[in-house]
Symmetry: C2
Subunit: 479 residues, 2 copies
């Protein structure tokens, strides 16, 4: 069973009016260049995690229009027959570059580049943004939470509060890539191999005549998966004593010491310490303590700073909706057009300086210093000759007197080819590989960039040539 989402129509209507407009004005085949980038890191963090590319690849590979779609668009009465007919054999035939999933990324640099016919490049805008924005949002948030837990386990528990089914199962994938260890969402396990986990809700306990009986029944059925929810009545007076009794009666005789209790309400820091003490006194030192209930990175940091004895955090709504900042503001902006084989850079000016785009068809280089930590990113025009064997001087694109020279460094190109003439040319990593890459990316950042509040602003600089191009266009637009 299931519900079919016609992704080809999860598209802003204006993409079709523009595409038909390009078609009708004889410009369907004009080659356009778009950059997808974002302007600010959610939660005032120091970096974001790019995520969602693999889903976008699926979208591009499947993208076509069936009879129902075309009949629907025709019913609007504003599209030409020629354009509608062209949709019958629509296929994406352009080029796409992107940073790999799980990569640490910074404001202003392209995460995805598209070079395609006008009618194709425009149509894919909405879904590209939706895909990358959603997964990058959740990955970025989940990684904050994972880092706050300082090695303790984070489990994603938010499906019921997610903004739709995609929010749940695709969100769980993003959380896993960013370092969460598991999810409650079963579909995310089937689809992406994110380990699904879970044992009982309060309802399980309430349906029995006693909490003891509920725990005993559960442990008899699942002796190797015994995680008991101990706050249905009273953690210290009822839940914990019943759990200890059942662990001793049912698990220990089988030689099983691995088990856990979960606390879903009350003062987690206080209760977890009390539970730990009692469990240790009873010899249940292998019993882990799980906490849930409206957690996020701030509450987890508080619990840890108060020496709460939590081994594992189940994080729900505040992760799966990125509650404190639920929007990743990726945009898709025209940066160049091709005329007679020449690439003409384009700029979007704005009263709001932050909204001015960086024109041109670009490359992004990450500069690693002597300790293999990422020091800065450098955006260049494609084809620019930069000799990375020589010392390199970077400068701030606004305060151009701020300059820094790197003598001993390596440079890695962040944007890799994904589609070439519509054909997939990328060796898609699986979820585990992406997750491992993400961990390496986090390790490559200085702690100052990873600070939760007021992090160091990582440098994303432009090459001299790109800076000149941008400034020339800016001055021209005001001329």
């Amino acid at each position: 069973m299931g519900r079919l989402i016609k992704e080809e129509l999860v598209t802003d209507f204006y993409e079709y009016t523009m595409a038909n407009g390009y078609y009708e004005s004889g410009r369907a085949d004009d080659i356009l260049y778009f950059d997808m980038f974002f302007r600010t890191v959610p939660d005032d963090g120091g970096f974001a995690i790019a995520c969602g590319l693999d889903l976008f690849i699926d979208y591009i590979q499947n993208l076509h229009f069936d009879d129902e779609d075309i009949a629907f668009l025709a019913s609007k009465g504003i599209f030409s027959q020629g354009y509608l007919d062209s949709l019958k054999n629509f296929k994406f035939t352009g080029d796409i570059w992107a940073v790999s999933e799980g990569t640490a990324v910074f404001p202003g640099e392209p995460l995805v580049q598209v070079r395609a016919r006008a009618v194709e490049a425009q149509i894919i805008e909405t879904y590209l943004l939706l895909c990358l924005n959603h997964s990058s949002l959740i990955a970025t948030k989940a990684n904050r939470i994972v880092r706050a837990a300082k090695g303790r386990t984070i489990m994603e528990f938010g499906s019921r509060r997610a903004q739709g089914a995609d929010g749940a199962y695709i969100g769980a994938r993003a959380a896993y890539i960013a370092g969460a260890a598991a999810t409650a969402c079963t579909l995310s396990d089937l689809k992406f191999g994110v380990p699904a986990t879970g044992t009982m809700a309060h309802s399980w306990i309430q349906t029995f005549d006693s909490e003891y009986e509920a725990f005993k029944t559960y442990c008899e059925i699942y002796p190797n998966n015994a995680s008991l929810l101990i706050d249905t009545y009273d953690v210290m007076k009822s839940g914990l004593p019943n759990a200890i009794k059942v662990f001793k009666e049912v698990l220990l005789p089988k030689g099983i010491t691995k088990c856990s209790v979960r606390i879903d309400s009350g003062d987690i820091a206080y209760l977890s310490k009390k539970c730990r003490q009692k469990l240790d006194e009873e010899g249940l030192t292998d019993c882990k303590i799980i906490a849930s209930n409206s957690l996020d990175e701030n509450i987890i940091r508080d619990i840890i700073s108060q020496e709460g004895c939590v081994d594992s955090f189940g994080v729900g709504e505040r992760l799966i909706t990125a509650k404190s900042n639920p929007v990743f503001g990726g945009v898709y902006k025209l940066v160049a057009v091709e005329k007679n084989g020449e690439i003409i850079p384009k700029i979007k000016v704005s009263e709001n300086v932050a909204k001015i785009t960086t024109p041109g068809f670009k490359e992004v280089w990450r500069i690693y210093g002597e300790t293999n930590k990422a020091e800065a990113d450098l955006i260049t025009l494609r084809g620019e000759e930069i000799d990375f064997d020589k010392p390199i001087e970077l400068f701030d694109p606004i305060h151009t007197w701020k300059r820094k020279t790197f003598d001993d460094y390596t440079a890695r190109q962040l944007l890799v080819p994904i589609f070439r003439n519509g054909e997939l040319v990328y060796n898609r990593p699986d979820t585990e590989e992406i997750r491992a890459h993400c961990q390496r990316e986090i390790d490559s950042l200085w702690d100052e960039v990873k600070r939760f509040d007021n992090p160091h602003e990582y440098y994303v600089d432009l090459s001299q040539k790109l800076w000149d191009t941008k400034n020339t266009l800016l001055h021209e637009s005001r001329g």
Copy 2:
């Protein structure tokens, strides 16, 4: 084309461990009663709008498990063969009641009630919550924005920032039900009949050698759908003059006066007044002004209070993610079990008083006063005899000395039967009917309840019998 979401697995894993547990402990056929309700209105509003029922009906009707699902669950190694076999012919056979979509609802009252076999009632928890929480969240937020606009048009523009494809197209449906006039999301039009709208992005304009040429080409192709985006370069110096020129050259000779301009950046209140003045001076009084760019109910109220001349607001990320409060905290709690045909109420106590549940199998009545405004809701036990022909006294369930008597009133039952023994017994209204119902619901509320900040707290009271039941159980649990 499309992507299939296996909704039957968009389910917290613990639903399966519990269901298998019920099965293994010989309690699969125990009849359980669950209430779905919420505890607080997002954004500290005075009411929420129930939404998502129709999607949940689809889910229930389609709910079954295919071979892949069952093999996947089997691979976990913790489920009994008997339980796995029982999933082969799984079908929901229980009863469901719900408030109709578009209804104004308040904290603490059931929006959905489920009476079903333990193995069925548990399995549907996650998707029920996900469906109702998501759509109710967006409907509630969208209605705030619609009310802020005081009769001006609201268009939903948020797909690219939605949390997944469901977030986009199902969110657009919720926004429409709550009073938005249109969406940018094409799929929401095909699926639900939400009018899709849109004309051009900045990229359209940038691909031309001049803004004037871009506008002219557009108006020639779409003379009856001419909405021009005027902030690509400079609204007053370039965008507006070019738009006026093109309207006069292309539209007026055809006798078309209906057109619009859109402002997507800058000071909307100021620019819209300047544009209105200029358009009127030029005789283009039929030209509407559309504003977009990070709008929400607060900014819209500001623009209107400053006499901005905006006819229509395009609202994006702050609506489609309910950015200011992106979680609707609906929960699904066991309220009763059936034993030998008798309904035994169940309560969940908590240190946190707000988390204590109201036990029992219930009815919800809305009390309308003399002016046909909703005055209070009354929750009773099912089967309780209440003579609505006589005056009725309601009392606050916490401060029981606060009492109010209604002499002249009518009472409407909010919960209606949806499924009976697994069969749909509900006449599903279409999207337009739901939208009209929602408008009537808003009209039935006092302005005090609709206030944006610090609204009047609407009364949701318990009958004496239900209050007694709850208090008896509370005391027993402490005894």
